[in-house]
Subunit: 208 residues, 4 copies
């Protein structure tokens, strides 16, 4: 009975993931969802307050997780001694991305919704928001360096935004591809090499 009971919810989720991903939030009709799920509108509203509530339910937890990664990473980082902070800074800069990658890869469907099907929801700016978080995080790192008297060039905040957005775009594109784990991991490594190479070129140049 317990698993019978949740059939309604299960079907709604299953169908709505599919519908939203095909037609976007606005293009998806609730009546279509419940019809395809074989449930009634009334049943639907027993579980969700609204269409947006359903979308939130499918997606919010995961969006939050991604955004929370920055706090997590920063919290871990700040527990290190200053010496270690400086030593491991470079590693930490990619730790966040790696976490994102592995998390998003395990929730492909949901991230597809967030990234490509969220027009009309509160998630339509997700990529920009995460970009902002990344920028803030980067700035925090640099503040530490500076507070230690370590001189470092002024990164153009515009460049940061531009390139970080590209990085996320690449990262999520990779996440959403239907490829086996090994291949994805290998591609991710290459991707990191690519972007590190990019950053190096940029720094080098501005140093001189």
């Amino acid at each position: 009975m317990q698993n019978e009971q949740s059939t309604t919810l299960t079907k709604i989720i299953e169908v709505s993931l599919n519908e939203f991903s095909l037609k976007g939030f606005r293009g998806t009709s609730l009546r279509e969802i419940v019809k395809k799920a074989g449930v009634t509108t009334g049943a639907f509203y027993g579980y969700f307050k609204s269409k947006e509530d359903l979308f939130d339910f499918l997606v919010k937890e995961h969006a939050d997780y991604i955004k929370g990664i920055y706090d997590q990473v920063y919290s871990d980082f700040s527990k290190l001694s200053l010496e270690n902070q400086i030593k491991q800074m470079e590693d930490y800069s990619s730790i966040g991305l790696e976490k994102m990658f592995s998390y998003a890869r395990n929730h492909k469907k949901e991230f597809n919704l967030i990234l490509n099907c969220a027009e009309g929801t509160s998630f339509q700016n997700f990529l920009n928001e995460v970009t902002q978080k990344e920028i803030e995080a980067t700035e925090k790192f640099y503040d530490i360096l500076k507070s230690q008297g370590i001189k470092c060039e002024n990164l153009d905040p515009l460049m940061e935004e531009i390139i970080i957005k590209g990085t996320f775009s690449s990262l999520f594109t990779l996440c959403l591809l239907d490829i086996p784990y090994d291949q994805a991991q290998k591609s991710l490594d290459q991707m990191f090499r690519f972007y590190r190479g990019g950053w190096d070129s940029l720094m080098h140049f501005s140093k001189n």
Copy 2:
């Protein structure tokens, strides 16, 4: 009188650019457009066949231009002698992007529609389509190298897709920023340096 002429059309375009950019194609109501434009629905349909027709009108020409750049660049390139082709290949790889940039920068509003507000229109896959064009173009370049006996490593097509998509993301992000021309141009140069650096890292590595 001359500048009064077709105020209706002018207002519709002006208002709809704004509405679409705020609410997306699907989220924008025609009635709202005409109300804000101070015209009637009937007047609207004197100029456009449908809501989608209006969106097309705002955007199609520019989307086509971008897609046409590849043919243009390739056509120019193929007129070069083989010797010059090989010599200038690296330049040509960025010419297309530069053209895109300057064009898109002059049509910010429209590209914002194409990139961020086109769910429900035929433009919703624009970025993917351009990515595919770029991939095809890249392949053509490599075919030339190979036909000249110049050995070059096999690029993982996945990596190509991932990084090219990121590149476009960066490029268009930059385009859409509200910054003065000089600054944008400088940022574009940096961006190119960044991405060239990235590619170099990737090649270098796979070579060894």
Copy 3:
């Protein structure tokens, strides 16, 4: 210039005959008419007060003619001496139909409109109206007979209506066929024979 001047009107008439006949009065759009006629709405309203006015113009004269036939025939008939009235009564009963036939056959397009495309206009009951006229006419004939002491059976007015409607249906079906004059005339004769035979059967029977 004179014939240039009327081009607008000519085109409107030509096109509207066609459009109305294909889609009926309600299904035909005025804008479609003027577009296909290559004229403007404004020009149209220079000639006609409304869409219905156009339909009337195309059709009214001819509908009136048909309805007027009864008065004509009766007027001719009443000029005869009583003796001749009685002698020629049978002939006169078909004279009206023959006149209708030859008139309608010369205005096929217009009668097609009246009969099959007039839903939504004042002509939508044309057939019933003509049927009523025929019934009235028949009654007048019989009154004459009766006034002369000639006994004749009471025709069931229902039967009259039913059969007269059928007769008109046949008559107009025949009119609208695309067949050469000779054939049509031959068919008309046969039709008369048919209906006279019908009436004879009916009278004979009710006599006994």
Copy 4:
């Protein structure tokens, strides 16, 4: 409660029968229907897919029944022995019409829609279609006669069409009259006598 059930549907049907019969399919507005029925547009679309779907629902079953009569009659007829076929042929020729009559008489409102209010629907050619069926049926009968070496004159197909259409016109006119059953039946008999007399006249003549 049971008779309260589906008041919405009942009201829609009742009102729409009336509206369609007054204004025709095209002239009838859905909004008017639902307003007069005291229901909402949404409720309407719970029962019908479209305005045309409603018209179909009201009418299709009955139109199909009429068209199906020919198959029915022919199927019965073909089960007779050849001898009986020839003997009863004359009877069978009217059986179909009688069935039509009694069926249509029981569904007056609906047949009024089919015959007089169907412009813009798939039923607008109903009378022609039934006429064609009757012509085909007649031809089948004659084929049987001929196959038995029974000589029979070639009926002019035009005459067939003209007269059959008239017959149907009469038949349906009779059906739609508001008269008591007995009277209608008597009129029908007379009508048959009329048309048989007509056919006899025609045959007789062409024989000589």
